[in-house]
Amino acid sequence: MASLAEQFEVLSGLAKSGAHLSFGQDFFVKFYQAFLLSNRWQQYIEGVGTTLVVTAIALIIGVILGGVVALVRTAHDQQRHSHRNFLLGVVNQICKIYTTVIRGTPMMVQLLIMGMVVFASSRNFTVVGALTLGINSGAYVSEIIRGGLMGVDPGQMEAGRSLGLNYMTTMVTIVIPQAVKSILPALGNEFIILLKDTSLITVIGGKELLYAAQGVMNRTYEAMFPLLGTAVIYLILVMIFTWLLGKLEGRLRQSDRR
């Protein structure tokens, strides 16, 4: 039996000479072109690697930004009316503008602005893409974290403060640890959204999975297999992470019952 490579040579030769291929043969040729020819599958693998790295970087930026914004806004809202801190008011306003702008404009537009205007001279498209995704994600994460903080019984803050602990210490040792339980699952969700949104950085030349697929498409003039392959890979990734998140949530719920 001939090797796959030999079969491909024969069949693609036939196709070029104008012969009609059966459905199965046609399928084989296109599949081979999309994934196996000159080890193209490696490009997808590299793409997946970049996708995961970009997702992780964006999530880290998002969590840090979102955490800071959430803390600023919560601290601002919990201030005494007669003892408002001017500086906190200013920072709070900046945070509000940030979340409004980011959540009020399409991610694609943000990417294009960052890639083609703000960092127009940068060649490092993937990093610019990850940064933009992180900044975008921060706005949503801040709302997730804010919701988590507000979801903690106000009596907990009161109990901490009544013992003489200051606002920050009470936040860090009492409120935040309890908020984490409700924040983590939502954060996992955000991770999955980010994972899929990384595909958008292709528009500014970020070299992730979809970029790899497009590279193959440009070589083979054949769109179906690279795109379907990309979709399947994303689906598998999302399913894996959803499963992992389910496990994490189960754990969290278990520790609730202790």
């Binding site: 007669s82 901490g160 009544s162 003489g164």
Partner: protein, 238 residues
């Protein structure tokens, strides 16, 4: 020790406290009673500024309490809540030692020893490593009291400490409070437990219409109330 002068508080137009004057001396066990919604909790929470008063002053040991030094004041004024407000993510031991350690009153080791002593005193030493939701309501509230005691406060504020408890657990909490009172602790207690007020308090205070209406030792307070509103109140609760 605590002097309250003309304390006022309103919630969006609703004047809850209309100028409360009260002096609490060292060693006093003061019970605050009054109809629901009359502002007992509001008053108590204005003392340690969990609510911010709109007017008047509260002084502790001759110093007016302001927002600026509030953390130091609260460390001297323990508070016990109706719903315990134990920290569910921390063990009983950690609940008790958190504040003394964070505020650098004690090392973790000293605090652990103090916690153990306090827990032994209430017979719950074996619960040191349990989490709050493994405990009964009565146990939770007694541990909340001990948590406040660990800061070695000058005064303890109680806001209906037994109202959220099943009837069979009320006794153990009141017993501990009685013990504290007898040990000389200054206590301000909002309560519906008239038996406790009669037996343990040295002053019972009736608050109504945003003011202190009656302030008497329990014998007189319960015997023949002159104040018609107090009369009506007592006839309902006794």
């Amino acid at each position: 020790m605590i002097v309250v002068k003309d304390l006022k508080k309103q919630y969006n137009g609703l004047q809850v406290l209309k100028g409360v004057n009260l002096t609490i001396n060292k060693g006093d066990v003061v019970c605050l009673v009054g109809p629901s919604g009359c502002g007992k909790s509001t008053f108590l929470r204005c003392l340690n500024r969990l609510e911010e008063p709109d007017g008047g002053t509260v002084t502790l040991d001759g110093k007016e309490i302001t927002e600026k030094d509030i953390d130091a004041v609260r460390a001297k004024m323990g508070m016990v809540f109706q719903h315990f407000n134990l920290f569910p993510h921390l063990t009983v031991r950690k609940n008790i030692t958190l504040a003394p350690v964070k505020l650098k009153r004690m090392s973790q080791k000293e605090a652990d020893q103090t916690a153990l002593k306090l827990l032994e005193r209430i017979g719950l030493a074996d619960k040191a490593d349990s989490y709050p939701n493994m405990l009964s309501g009565g146990q939770k509230q007694r541990i909340a009291i001990v948590r406040a005691l660990a800061m070695n406060p000058e005064v303890l504020l109680f806001d209906e400490p037994t109202s959220a408890l099943d009837p069979e657990m009320v006794g153990e909490v009141l017993e501990l409070m009685k013990e504290l009172a007898h040990s000389g602790m200054t206590m301000v207690v909002v309560t519906h437990e008239m038996g406790f007020a009669r037996e343990v308090a040295n002053r019972v205070i009736f608050i109504d219409e945003g003011k202190v209406q009656v302030d008497k030792p329990p014998q007189e307070f319960f015997k023949d109330p002159e104040n018609p509103r107090l009369k009506a109140f007592l006839s309902k609760v006794l």
